[in-house]
Amino acid sequence: MSRILEVRGLTKVHGRGCPLCIEATGPDSDTNICPHCGSVVAAHDVSFDLHRGEILGIIGESGSGKSTVVKTLYFDDAPSAGEAILFDDAAQYELFALNAARQRWVRNHRFGMVYQNPHLGLNFNVTAGGNIAERLLMSDVNHYGAIRTRAKELLARTEVLEARMDESPRKFSGGMQQRVQIAKALATRPPLLLLDEVTTGLDLSVQAAILDLILEIQHELGTAMIVVTHDLGVIRLLAGRTLVMKYGRVIESGLTDQVLEDPQHAYTQRLVSSAL
């Protein structure tokens, strides 16, 4: 079995927390806010495995904790409890036990992240090419010519016109900004890509093109991905396996076709039956 990531018991509580937080929140309590201390249980006891080249979907409504999972994995947010192990070619990293410098190294070299909001993933004060260069510099590519060539390659691959490489992504359309983000995320050829609502808010035709691009990348590079979305169509198209989250808990997981055709949990049944 070629696992790339193992996540066990991942938990994130915003606030001081109290002994009753876990018990008093979740799908059965219909809230993620602890009534005793007001802390928000964003995610609790999330566990899953990810294999090389596999796409795992995480679906749920706003506030279900799905983004929290990828944000903690990308070190944007520190978890309150749990562990995550990255199985790299030869090495293994216990992600949350690494010191800040090692975490930065893993983040820059082994992970790629694409955010729903391009402002989070891109620096609008530098050009599209500069954004990619930034990431290459962080992963120790220092030769100007080499950086420029690789940036061109990546932007061509994600179908951003080379002529616009020296413009700020501020001037780009939403779809193009997402393409630049994807190009940036792929710059270091990471074995794991985290995608947080990457097509939300885009025109349908642009969504389709971005999703096709993601699938092509998975075919070409065998990149493992965690795709977070509230859109059943995205899950159906991309993910082999799916986790369903609600109020910070994983309420159901399974093969994507099974989750969609034979959902077990009441919430998933409602979700699937309300899809257009």
Partner: protein
């Protein structure tokens, strides 16, 4: 003769939480599939034929029974209990499913749709496409359609694309859900010929047919399903 699959007491029901209802779909299904032979599933609409195939492919989570599959390495796996990654691996390498309706990636030409299972197994795209074109030609899908997405195809054309996609990788176990429902007699003959070739090459097939003459022409074994009885009805009968 080598048994590839034996289904023992398979049952499937759906629990609809919002309505508080238990819907029976299949109960106490027993059958076997052998290498190089075709087992036909027959029975009235609603008797759970598709539910058996979907349970084996794990599109449905079985509610009861054992689905013992013997893989290429000779290991016996209960598909009802197998881990998700194990099922995904078997789908990629050994078990093919031709569903009643074509589910494929949008915006992809028919040739690529058909070639996809081979590409997923690591066959170079060019070779996979060559093989796909041979199959599409044999199933009389007009060549002008090969690079068009099947979304715009007629029912019969879609069905042939679906069939070609199911056959191309020569699965060890092939599940067929009414593979000839919307085909004319001549194309049906082509399909019969292809299925017979698959049998000769050792594929074990479990197929749903409605037309009795197809059962006669292709089946080595026939399993008939009866309508499942809802538990609620049983309780009503008793009181």
């Amino acid at each position: 003769m080598e048994t590839i699959l034996s289904v023992e007491g398979y049952a499937k029901h759906f629990l609809l939480h919002d309505r508080g209802k238990l819907i029976p779909s299949a109960a106490n299904v027993n059958l076997s599939v052998w290498a190089g032979r075709l087992t036909a599933l027959v029975g009235p609409t609603g008797s759970g034929k598709s539910s058996v195939l979907k349970g084996i492919y794990r599109t449905y989570l079985p509610s009861g029974g054992r689905l013992l599959y013997r893989d290429a390495a000779g290991h016996v796996i209960d598909l009802a209990l197998a881990a998700e990654h194990q099922v995904l691996g078997l789908r990629q390498r050994e078990i093919g499913f031709v569903t009643q309706f074509l589910h494929c990636l949008p915006r992809q030409g028919a040739l690529d749709v058909v070639a996809e299972p081979l590409v997923a197994r690591g066959v170079p795209r060019k070779d996979a496409r060559t093989k796909a074109s041979t199959l599409l030609a044999r199933l009389a899908v007009p060549e002008r359609l090969w690079n068009v997405s099947p979304a715009t195809f007629s029912g019969g054309e879609k069905q042939r694309v679906n069939l070609a996609r199911g056959l191309i990788a020569h699965p060890r176990l092939l599940l067929l859900d009414e593979p000839t429902a919307s085909l004319d007699p001549r194309t049906t003959d082509q399909v019969v010929e292809l299925i017979n070739e698959m049998k000769q090459q050792g594929t074990g097939i479990l197929a749903i047919f409605h037309a009795p003459d197809l059962v006669e022409r292709l089946a080595d074994e026939v399993v008939e399903l009866a309508l499942p009885v809802a538990a609620a009805d049983l309780i009503e009968d008793m009181t």
